[in-house]
Subunit: 130 residues, 2 copies
């Protein structure tokens, strides 16, 4: 499997794990030194896998209330050892999406190959400010 | 010069060009196919160098009103052909920064080496939602 295909598979598995509230699946391809810029604070990022793990239960509660997390577009730039990807997602409750159908969650992912295996070391999630 | 140093120099030159409202300096290391997720809409990104160029005059007006754009932290992951970086900046007017001193502009940059020269192909700028 080439690097771009491997990364596409990794990201689509991660999106599915988020959608299924599957915490082990969300974490399995992430590096211990992950730095995540999330939608809510802290401004200076969620640093390290323990803090990253702790950020998910609140989002799973949001999904259990009916919110969707649906990948619409994915673009990957892969080297042999370093890669990044950007994506656009529909993310919100049915009421959110009905009120603002064009709102997109913007996502950028940075990856590094460790011992032949791609790992996510950076995530940046945001919405536009209005 | 190694790749990480070259990218650090590129990004610090770009930050300086933004701060100096130097449009040519802002554009010089960017690829024709740049995709930028900016703080304001459009939700699905600013696509292509012409649209990227057109996004800057409004921000330069904001800076001429007194806003700062100051790099606080920069982390680079560089391969031989692909790289990404994340950064935290102070960005706002003196009144913004006095009211919210811990607010940070979060920035992720994706780069690709074309004919031996690093080019920015992706930028993601955001603030947390409060």
């Amino acid at each position: 499997m080439d690097d771009e295909t491997a990364i596409k598979d990794l990201i689509t598995r991660w999106v599915d794990a988020v959608g299924n509230c599957d915490l082990d699946g969300v974490l399995v391809d992430h590096a211990p030194d992950i730095v995540m810029f999330d939608v809510p604070p802290p401004d200076d990022g969620i640093r390290g896998l323990d803090a990253y793990r702790d950020s998910w239960p609140a989002f799973f509660d949001f999904q259990r209330s009916g919110a969707v997390f649906e990948l619409l577009e994915l673009d990957i730039t892969a080297g042999q050892e370093v890669a990044f990807a950007w994506a656009l997602l529909r993310c919100g409750t049915p009421a959110d999406l009905a009120a603002n159908p064009d709102t997109r969650l913007r996502l950028t992912i940075g990856l590094r190959k460790d011992n032949g295996r791609w790992r996510v070391t950076h995530e940046h999630h945001s919405f536009c400010l209005r």
